[in-house]
């Protein structure tokens, strides 16, 4: 055996290690680890970054044991649909066991990124004290911690470069947690506290900013008084990424010119985000920086199209635009003619439940952008009407789309001109956009669209489906096609047992499957779990849990979450979640 692999011994381990460091993806490194024992050993000892897409797919201790020299870890917890309240509270996703294993096995850990996990203050404290070289803490869509936990991070992480809190639910019990950064602390490069609701002591923040000369990203929360914002901006003219929190101002005329001058000083600014509550009259204050912007994330309640159009038409270098649908078709037409480098467009609904007067945002806006912005790759679009012909045109205009998420707000909405299902339109998207990796479909859709997706979406990795399809065949098309599918999430579709059981093997090739309000029975779940021991088949029973064994096979399963794992059934599931 050794003789056959003597070529491995021809080079010292360090050479292989160095070679492996050029491999771009974890998948490549995983492949390398399968070649021979030596490479497996060398690879695992030199792995510096790991990505765990599902925290329950592997035991934390096992991961830490296999890769003892990791410096950066990214871990994700709850399924994506948890964002929309489709899981239950206390579903799981706790970070505790991971943090404990990492604290023991990876004392040199530098970067930790957690998404959709439950992180307690204890976790934060343990992390802050255990990782001496801690540099980056990123928490996205997490919950379970408070500003007291943040205070211990501030106090203990002497070399922290990034504290990035993105859309977390944080209990705010420690008002001046920011003051726990010691006076000697100067290493901050990224500070994102946009999700915190509480009042911030602005002078403490000012002092912190002043002593961190490398600060490049600053995303503030509700910094209410405009004057205070102006002061902060003057202290950090080197900013590249600014989040203005909620910019409120009704005040005196002098304020406008102060704001204008503060922005004009930000010569390196590339990203601007925040909630512009100051009204359209203050918007011209940012005109001077528009040309340098590559990303603009403006969620707003009062800016209408004319003012917003004036901003976007100055943003000639914009690559990413996130806006509310108040931008309307006219605003998007302005985008199409001015923002020729646009790669990503996200349009969110200002009035998701249709209580106010509808905004004038239709398929024409997206069509305009697809036509004018040839580099468009990623789309998220909430609207109330669509046509097959518009989708076909968009597909023709943008064959390089990698992400297309269209949400027509009213379920089952057909092509509003022909009244037909939108099968043809979405079909065109998957057939013409060969690099499509993520797709969300909506509107009136029959099994036909799934047939096309299954057959043509060869690079698709994530698919989100809601209120679509006629029969089980729809699910079957997806599971039997879509070679690269990793994540599938479905709600309110007539998909059931047969498709699941016929494609059981596929489920192990995917990361996870979520199905809610479909037609799955407990019997099928039992069969599936029996057939596939390396899948966790979790059934959520909101009526109170209780013993699964007593329920009959034909009992309907309202929420189902299936994921592959080598860790076996999880031990931290609440009573409402039952592993079959």
């Amino acid at each position: 055996m050794d003789r056959a692999f003597s070529w491995v011994a021809a080079f010292p381990d360090e050479v292989w290690e160095h070679t492996f460091s050029f491999l771009p993806t974890d998948a490549d490194r995983n492949a390398v680890a399968l070649v021979c024992r030596s490479w497996h050993r060398i690879e695992r000892l030199s792995r510096r970054k790991i990505f765990v897409g599902n925290c329950y797919a592997v035991e934390p201790a096992a991961a830490v044991r296999r890769f003892p020299e990791v410096r950066a870890a990214t871990i994700k917890g709850k399924p994506h649909f948890a964002d929309f309240n489709l899981t239950i509270t206390d579903w799981g996703g706790g970070a505790g066991r991971w943090i404990q294993s990492m604290a023991k096995g990876w004392p040199l850990l530098e970067e930790l990124r957690l998404k959709r996990m439950v992180v307690s203050d204890d976790c934060l404290e343990i992390a802050a004290r255990s990782f001496k070289n801690f540099r980056v803490l990123s928490l996205a869509s997490c919950e379970g911690f408070s500003t007291a936990g943040l205070a211990s991070v501030a106090a203990n992480c002497r070399n922290l470069k990034a504290l990035d809190l993105h859309e977390n639910e944080v209990e705010e019990n420690c008002i001046n947690w920011i003051s726990h950064f010691p006076e000697s602390f100067t290493s901050l490069v990224t500070l994102n506290i946009a999700c915190l609701d509480g009042e911030m002591n602005v002078s403490i923040l000012e002092r912190l900013i002043s002593r961190c000369p490398n600060l490049k990203t600053l995303r503030l929360n509700h910094v209410t008084p405009l004057e205070k914002l102006v002061g902060l901006l003057h202290r950090a003219p080197q900013l590249v990424d600014l989040g203005i929190g909620m910019l409120i101002g009704e005040g005196h005329p002098g304020l406008f010119s102060k704001l204008e001058s503060a922005f004009a000083h930000l010569k390196h600014l590339k990203n601007l985000s925040g909630i512009w509550e100051a009204g359209p009259l203050y918007l011209p204050a940012i005109y001077s920086i528009c040309e340098g912007l590559t990303a603009l994330h403006l969620c707003d309640s009062s800016i209408q199209t004319p003012e917003l159009s004036k901003v976007v038409s100055r943003c000639k270098n914009l690559q990413q635009l996130w806006a509310m649908d108040l931008i309307e078709d006219d605003g998007l037409i302005a985008v199409a003619s001015s923002c020729k480098l646009l790669r990503e467009l996200r349009i969110f609904p200002s009035d998701p439940h249709g209580l106010a007067q509808p905004v004038y945002l239709t398929q024409y806006g997206l069509l305009a952008v697809s036509s004018g912005c040839v580099m468009l790759e990623s789309v998220l679009y909430f609207c109330r009407q669509m046509t097959n012909s518009a989708l076909l045109a968009i597909a023709n205009n943008c064959p390089n789309l990698t992400c297309f998420r269209l949400c027509i707000i009213e379920p089952y909405t057909p092509d509003y001109i022909t009244q037909e299902p939108l099968d043809a339109g979405f079909g065109a998207i998957v057939e013409l956009c060969k690099d499509l990796r993520r797709l969300s479909i909506s509107g009136l859709l029959t099994d036909r669209v799934f047939k096309t997706i299954g057959a043509s979406a060869n690079r698709l990795e994530m698919l989100s489906v809601a209120f679509a399809g006629d029969t089980d065949a729809g699910l079957h098309y997806i599971l039997s096609g879509c070679k690269k599918l990793r994540k599938l999430e479905i709600r309110d579709c007539p998909f059931g047992d047969k498709a699941l059981l016929d494609n059981a093997d596929k489920l192990e090739a995917m990361r996870s499957l979520w199905m809610s309000s479909c037609s799955v029975t407990l019997g099928a779940c039992r069969l599936l779990a029996k057939k596939m021991p390396r899948l966790n088949v979790e059934v959520i029973d909101e009526n109170g849990g209780g013993s699964l064994e007593s329920w009959p096979d034909d009992c309907h399963v309202e929420k189902l979450y299936i994921y592959r794992t080598i860790a076996g059934p999880r031990t931290d599931a609440p009573p409402f979640v039952l592993t079959v």
Binding site: S301, P358, Y364
Partner: protein, 183 residues
């Protein structure tokens, strides 16, 4: 590229209502629905009433974002001491009927102008104009104040305006010239 014929189409809808003429989608029940009436699927699409039951988790926007947005809305409205709106009639020369708007909803003249633009766009040929830079419109907005005088909108601070405005009138520029002259 799409045509914008719609802008000049005659409509049967009320001014300010959804621009596209055919918006049957909201009320249509899916005809092609073959499925065997499975009660497990949530069928919300057919309901046409304004107070329809909200489906859990739909549309798929992050609760966090929803909270932020709603919080913003309540923040801006709680600034106003009175809960009741300040509704005034709005008439436009040439329009067959009047509208009513709530002045408390707007924070300034710009927004008011935009709101009136979108409300009355289909009655004005040159458009009160939502296109950028087009300030030379054919119409002028005036209001009747507490004393019964017809005033030009925009002269006084916004708060003073909202407390004294009794009704709004959108008039042709040619008529409005007379107003300015008098002042």
């Amino acid at each position: 590229m799409a045509s914008y014929v719609e802008d000049t189409e005659l409509r049967l809808g009320l001014p300010g209502s959804d621009a596209p003429a055919a918006r049957g989608s909201k009320r249509s029940l899916p005809d092609q629905d073959d499925e065997a009436g499975d009660e497990s699927c949530c069928r919300n699409g057919g309901s046409a009433s304004a107070a329809k039951a909200q489906v859990v988790g739909w549309p798929p926007i992050r609760t966090y974002r929803k909270n932020s947005f709603q919080a913003m809305k309540t923040e801006t409205t709680t600034v106003e001491p009175e809960a009741s709106g300040l509704y005034v009639k709005v008439s436009m020369d040439g329009a067959p009927y009047l509208r009513k708007i709530d002045l408390k909803v707007y924070k300034g003249y710009m927004e008011l102008k935009e709101a009136l633009d979108s409300m009355f766009k289909c009655f004005s040929q040159g458009e009160l104009s939502r296109k950028e830079g087009c300030n030379g419109s054919e119409y002028v907005i005036s209001y009747e104040d507490k004393d019964g005088d017809l005033m030009l909108v925009g002269d006084v601070p916004w708060d003073m305006f909202t407390s004294s405005c009794k009704r709004l009138r959108i008039m042709k520029e040619s008529e409005a010239r007379g107003l300015e002259f008098r002042q």
